[in-house]
Structures are given as C-alpha cells and as structure tokens.
C-alpha cells in the first residue's frame, strides 16, 4: 500500500510568534513535493512538526489516517518518516559507516543484527557515493560530504517519506548538478516520497512533482512547479508587490 502523509490545518506558536498559521498538505510515497517560501516563512518549523521534533499548537499530522503529531521523534522515524538537518548533524566521533549503521540499526527497520546492519550501511554508502569515506571520521568530511551523509542516514532508516531540509544549498553549480542526478537516481531506485524544502529554485522546479509555497506561516500557492512560480502571490512574497505588478 502506498503510504500517505497528511498535514491538516497545522498551527505552531512560539510564545507570541505565529510560525505556522494553519498549513495543510499531503505527500504520498513515491511523489516529490517541493516546499518553498521566503526566509522565516515556517518551512523548517513545518518539517520539525511532521518529524515529531516540535509539537503542533493545533491541527493534525496523520500517516495513512493514523495521528502521529503527539508521538516523539523516534517513534515517527519508526513509522517511516525521517528528516535531514538543515545544518548537517553527523556524529562527529563516529566513522561515516558507523553514522549510517546507526540509522539502519534503529530507524524504521529496528534491525537488531549488527553485522547485517553494516552490510546494509555499505550498500547505502555505495548508493550515495560515500564508500571511499566509509572509514573516515565524520568530523573530517567536507560540507558537501556531510550533506550526502545526512541523505545517506535518512535513506538508511528505511523511511518511505523523507523530509529534506535544504540538502542542495551551498553547492557549486557542478556539485548541484551532481547532487540532483544522485537524488533522481536514488528516488528511482528506492521509490521514496519526499517533502523537499529548498531555496535553490533550479532543484525544486526540476525535481518536484508538485510545489507548495508558504509565506508567513500560510500556504499561498500549490500546483505544478512551472505554474506555481508564475502566480502573482508567489512573486509578491519573494520580490514584493511592485515586482508582482510588473510581472503580470
């Protein structure tokens, strides 16, 4: 059965700050949904709420109809949803392989066999192209490789829906092309669904099946990528009213 993640009317307040003011969306296994919006629009908060890192103030998050918004983060991962970190958070003192191995041992597989878990970890490392660095301490990886490691770890958890927080940011044009190629290959091979928060427009527009735009904690547009970015509300959110008027 295809797994479906649904977010309904989610609100999140931090004291007097309304980070999310009622956002709804859904992501199905196998589909890529882009989530864009200006800085501070609530994208990362939304991912944190889905991942169980933050509890929503109101609204629900469901996976195949089952409420998951009150579950702690580790339970959400067990159910098959895993999130990367905007700033990579590798376990610095562990090798790259151990970093991935941990994700296999826990994650949604909860495989208790260490030897088998590390075979699996080797497979994931090859998949993302980190096998050369398997024995390298994560502390010695470059920024680009740390981002790959983030991706490797969420894949290693066996999750069916990935929440990717700016995995394409800060890459050179060549690196970006490579990373996008890698993502497409991985998605074909594994068939996961993903909610992709991204500022790099080229990546979002190329990879997403559907794009959602949020601004100031509200959804302002949703649809096929090329269509969404032409909507006046979206141009206004990014560039201001003048630009929106000029464009239409």
């Amino acid at each position: 059965m295809t797994m479906v993640l649904s977010v309904a009317e989610v609100r999140k307040d931090f004291g007097g700050v309304h980070a999310l003011r009622g956002v709804s969306l859904s992501v199905a296994e196998g589909r890529i949904v882009g989530l864009i919006g200006p800085n501070g629009s609530g994208k990362t908060t939304l991912l944190n709420v889905i991942a169980g890192v933050e509890k929503p103030t109101a609204g629900t998050v469901t996976l195949d109809g089952r409420r998951i918004d009150r579950l702690p983060a580790h339970r959400v991962v067990e159910l098959g949803i895993a999130k990367t970190h905007q700033i990579p958070k590798p376990f610095l003192g562990l090798t790259t392989r151990d970093n991935v191995g941990v994700a296999v041992l826990y994650g949604s597989r909860q495989d208790r066999d260490v030897a088998r878990a590390f075979d699996e970890a080797n497979w994931v490392l090859r998949l993302v192209g980190l096998e050369r660095h398997a024995e390298t301490l994560a502390a010695n990886l470059t920024v680009q490789d740390r981002k790959r490691l983030e991706l490797a770890r969420v894949i290693a958890t066996g999750s069916r829906i990935l929440l990717l927080d700016e995995v394409f940011a800060g890459l050179s044009p060549d690196e970006l092309r490579e990373a996008m190629g890698l993502f497409t290959r991985l998605q074909k091979e594994i068939g996961f669904g993903a909610l992709v928060v991204e500022h790099v427009m080229r990546a979002v527009l190329t990879l997403s099946d559907r794009v959602i735009v949020i601004d100031e904690g509200r959804k302002i547009a949703e649809g096929p990528p090329q269509q969404v970015v032409r909507q006046p509300a979206v141009i206004e959110a990014y560039l201001g009213r003048e630009a929106a008027r000029a464009a239409t």
């Binding site: 890192v53 702690p72 580790h74 970190h85 208790r112 030897a115 878990a117 090859r126």
Partner: protein, 314 residues
Amino acid sequence: MKLPAIPKLGPTVWGIAAFLVVGAIAAPWIPIYPLTILIGLLVFAALAYSMNFITGLTGYVSFGQVVFMGTGAYAWGYVVGTFRWHPIGGVLVGAAVGALLALGLGAVTLRFRGVYFAIATLVMPLAAVDIILVTPALGGGQGIILNLGFEPLSWFYTIWVILAIEIGLTYWVTHGRIGYGLRAIKGDEDAAKTLGIDAARLKLFVFCFSGLFTGAAGAVNAWTLSGVFPNDAFALLFSLQMLAMVVIGGMGTLLGPLLGAVVVYIPHTYFLTVVVGAEFIVIGILIAIIALVIPEGIVGALRRHIPALRRILE
C-alpha cells in the same frame, strides 16, 4: 567493498579474562596484605566500570555517582545488621537498591543535559547524608557498626564475580546495537532521536546498570570495613575517583576503566601510608596532563598513535 569482520572476542577480552582467571586461581595463595590491595583494586575497577556505563558511554557526567555506592552500603548494612542476612545476600540487596534508585533518579535527572545533569546528580549524595543523619534505624550519625570478622577470600570472590559480570555486560553493550545507539547519543542527542533512537529509554537503561554495580561495589566495600558511616559512605571523593578512572583510562572503552582503576588506586593506597592527601595532587596532575595531551584517555591515545594496537585494544 567487504565489511571488516567485527572481532567476536578480541585480544582485549582474552587479556582481561586471563587477568581475572589468574587472580581467581591464585587468590588463596596470595599473602594477606597484597590480597587486600587486590581486593581494593577490584572494588575500584567495579566502580570504574559502573561509571563507564553512564559517563563513558553517554557522556553524561554523573558527579553524584557515590549516592549509589552509599545507598548500596546502607542497604547492605541494614539487612546484615538488622535481619542478620548473610553478607552476600546483603550485596544483592545493595545492588537492587542501587538499580532502583538509579531508575527513579535517572527518570528525572537524565532530562537535563551537560552541566545541569552534573549538578542535579551532585546534590543527591548531599541530600542522602542529611536523610541518613536523622534516620535512627540506619544508625544516624554513628553509622552501622558490625562485627563480621576478617574474611578476605569471601570479599575477593564476591567482588570478582561482580566485576566479571560487569565486564561481560560492558562487552555486550559496547559491541551490540545498544552501543551504537549510545555512541550516537553521545555524539548528538537530537540527531540520534531523529534517526529513531529512544534516547530517554537508552540512557535510563545504562544508568540502571550503573546504579546496580555501584551499589554492589559499595556493599562489598562496606563489608571489608565491617560497617557503614554516613560521611564516608557518601564522600564526594569517590565520585571524583570514579570519574578520574574513566577519564584516565578511556571513556566508553572496554579496557579503559581497568587501566584507570590501576592508575588511580595505586597512588591511593601508596599515599595513604606516606602522606595522606598527596594522592589528590598526583591524580589532579595526571588528569590535567591527560586533558591537555590525550583527552581520549590511555586506551584512546594508544589506539590513535600505535596503529598496530587498533585491532587489539577495545
């Protein structure tokens, strides 16, 4: 690429096992004075391994660890003194009380991180002393004085069994799935949670082990003294020595706590007969040197600088 085989039982395990087996066979022929030194060393080693469970594996610094030692000792003294239990039964009770106390205290204090956890645990032995002082059933300020006789071989084999079980558990934890979970928590607890690790449960699990063995070692220590005294049983010094052993030997390793116990215990006994208090200067200087030069402790430094030892030392 082939996964390097995880050594099933490496040289470190065999080395520690040989040390324990030789000790167990030789014990009846060891003269009294060296035997008491060896017993003290094993008690320290048991304390070091119990500290290793929480501080070595998770990075949570348990400054109040002595609270489990003290309550283990008091639980032992109470059942042996009041109910006339056999001292070994008392040691089992001490272990159980240590584990239960760790479960209760850990459920609350393990929510704090870093220095807040250290401070939260630090106040526990201070509170325990005050409670004991106003509890007549536990001897109040006088403590519990028992007249049990001098039985070094019983002490030796009791602490030997405790230490052997503890090292076995350390091996099981560090080499299994739990060990990877704990290393992840030590590395970055938030990231660990987002990979499916139930950090709260895992930390509490090892903290209970830690309390269990600290309680057992505290009970044996009280047995060798034939009594329990409030200010000695909860002395902060023990916490510091336990920390020193783990830091000097190598946090989270299999061999480190044993090496740390030797390095801390030898000056401890030596200076007791020469200049009381000088051991702290020695241990203090050692810790300062280790923090500056080899923050990963003896085992970590050996592994880093001598590649040949990497496959051998754990």
